[in-house]
Assembly symmetry: C2
Homo-oligomer: 429 residues x 2
């Protein structure tokens, strides 16, 4: 694997487009072969890739050290350096994750449904890979392995474009991965890294309609927004996770407190973390609930009625209702009944995960039916919004769009279907 294949800076946009077109054409050819591989052969190849990652640990860590040193020199923040840094344990975690993906069951070939028409035609819808998937990501080098193996497990080719700060790590990880995959008979071009950090290459990838079938951005809000704005290729993305927990009048006191505190405080920085607490005006234990969150170390910003529940609640501005804090801060509003809660959520939810806590079966059903988000929960913490927790295995992301796949997107979300029709010579009248 040559890490010195950067395009010289004087290359033109056309050169970059030709480069991407070449990568995509190679990916398509490789993907067509990969699509015909059996479940067992793909699993074996992925286990070999996991082992190759373990075997290449010294090399990968040495290359990663170069990236970290360069990052320190460029003055990257501590958080960014932490995302970038690999050690034995993290690398071992990456390899273990590859083994886990290898052990997932293969969705390709599954018959979704079938029927026989009155004229004798037999129809089946059969799951097939999507094709060529572009992954655009930032500084975490583990995405190089995680995303690539999910794509390959479902029979797709991946074109990876990682952040420039992780370029040595990414090439070293891919080199190891590719060696293992090749030993298992997976075509070499099934996983490729874009060999330039030229930003124009991202644009070319995003506009490669017909050559690239889907783009998955993995990173912060600004990356995802840029991808969504520029892409002509379909994008599987999630932007914000502005998740609500609504405490209904008939909520159990202990459950309400445990679910709300967990939804916010277990990990404050994940997209499934609660950002807004809605408390029904008829819920009798509102002060205790708000107190529990404050006592747990959460800053609360509330409307007038919420402020009156506890002196420590700060005043909220209009912006707070549309803010994904990703830290130990939440907004809190008192609402008059479930309809007011539904209206607040319809106006402010980002469509990720919204929760009701109630012991009233009718309110639960109304909430689950009415809230128009990818995931709607009753009596559970929004932090369960995760492919692993849903039993799907590793996920490529949590989609908040409305097309193709919603919520945690795992292997099935990386497939599509085709119609297979078997006849006995039928012609259409």
């Amino acid at each position: 694997m040559n890490t010195q294949t950067e395009l010289a800076p004087e290359k033109t946009e056309t050169d970059v487009e030709t480069l991407i077109a070449g990568l995509a054409a190679d990916a398509r050819t490789a993907q067509r072969k990969l699509a015909q591989m059996s479940d067992a052969d793909k699993a074996t190849a992925l286990h070999l890739a996991a082992q190759a990652l373990r075997d290449a640990a010294p090399k990968i860590l040495a290359e990663n050290a170069k990236d970290v040193a360069a990052g320190e020199e460029r003055g990257l923040s501590g958080a960014m350096l932490d995302r970038l840094r690999l050690d034995e344990a993290r690398l071992s975690g990456i390899a273990d994750a590859v083994d886990q993906v290898a052990d997932l069951s293969d969705p390709v070939g599954e018959v979704i449904d079938s029927s026989e028409r009155p004229n004798g035609l037999k129809l089946s819808r059969v799951r097939v890979p999507i094709g060529v998937i572009g992954i655009i990501y930032e500084s975490r080098p583990n995405v190089t392995a995680d995303a690539a193996v999910l794509c390959v497990r479902a029979g797709n080719a991946a074109i990876l474009r990682g952040g420039s700060e992780a370029v040595h790590s990414n090439h070293a990880i891919l080199a190891a991965l590719s060696k293992g995959l090749a030993e298992g008979g997976i075509p070499e071009k099934a996983v490729q890294l874009v060999p330039t950090q030229d930003r124009a290459a991202v644009g070319a990838l995003l506009r490669a309609t017909g050559a690239v079938d889907m783009i998955v951005p993995r990173g912060g809000k600004s990356l995802v927004a840029r991808v969504q704005d520029e892409a002509r290729v379909p994008v599987l993305a999630h932007l914000d996770g502005i998740c609500h927990t609504y405490i209904h009048s008939a909520a159990d006191k202990d459950m309400a407190e445990q679910v709300a505190v967990n939804a916010k405080m277990r990990r404050t920085g994940i997209c499934g973390a609660m950002e807004t607490l809605l408390v029904d005006a008829s819920y009798p234990e509102a002060s205790a609930l708000v107190g529990k969150l404050l006592d747990a170390g959460c800053e609360l910003r509330g409307d007038g009625r919420a402020q009156s529940l506890d002196k420590r609640v700060l005043p909220a501005t209009d912006e707070d209702w549309d803010t994904e804090y990703l830290e130990a801060v939440a907004s809190v509003a008192v609402v008059d009944g479930i309809d007011a809660a539904l209206s607040h959520i319809a106006e402010h939810s980002s469509g990720h995960t919204d929760v009701i806590v109630t012991s009233d079966a009718e309110a639960e059903q109304t909430f689950l039916n009415s809230v128009d988000s990818a995931i709607v929960m009753a009596n559970a913490s929004s932090q369960f919004a995760d492919g692993g927790e849903f039993g799907l295995g590793a996920e490529i992301g949590i989609a908040t769009g409305r097309i193709h796949a919603r919520g945690p997107v795992a292997l099935e979300g990386l497939t599509t279907y085709k119609w297979q029709v078997r006849g006995t010579g039928q012609t259409r009248p």
Copy 2:
């Protein structure tokens, strides 16, 4: 219904964006109510709409006559005028189609799958409407009814943008439709027509990310290409239907001839019509097959070996292999075995429908597995590529993209899903 609501020509792009944002916001509000309506109520409302179309026939035909007169004045082609023109029979056909959509079963609420996690969380994936769908179409006024009722049947709001040449017809059809839907309790803004023919309105609709959930272009290649190029909203589109029929060495002679002639000649102008015939070099009856197509009135353009089968075969140029003729013309190539056929199809197919004719079960399975098109058929005419023929009822189009839905897209393709999670107070460790 006011047909005089065109924006004055001096309106700016911002005005158009505000207009589209307003339509989309109204559509969203209406759609949220519509999403909660029962199957039976939606069906009843659609039957009322069909009746309202019948009742309004004199008004609709009078408005249509204005469009036809204006079109004649503008010198529209005979084919375009024919697409534009309505009469009693066509209008009755439109109303009947609305009744048929009313009688389709409602996909909304269907539980796709469900599971219980070890921690007791109960998960279900439930079908829900996509939301707000934009339909951009050309001169056929029937699309106003056809597309709108398919959207509504699956719980979606529709924003329609028809061609300027059909503006009076479209408004009259929508007025009737809306009256019937309103009688059945469907919110008025569930179906709206963009009240301006300003081309900037199409651009604004295509860029309304988050406000419009999906765009369906219905029309010719240039319309679809423009939509795909400009859209930021996901597009459900099909471009070309370059469909292949491959006659394998083990094909039955009569079947091969009947299927090939039907695939091309039943209706030459539909997207499922065969455009390229691939004949295996080992198929012994190639001359007879080519003769049958020529005798049926099909012009054939072939490679050297195809030309040697019959003197009437004209020489093909490179372009012919990538041409959707949509008339009584086909290209024909002789290929050396199934792998050569698969290579030709991989290079030239538009991913719509491709067919093998063979009595060899292994060749059939190889073809159905390997060809990467939305629809793959064995021993049947490609003209069966149609939602009705697949038992799906009316279709909004035949999608050749690889995301969300492929092949004939009927009601199910106008839905997505959400995850409903029911707990008993679980918090995430």
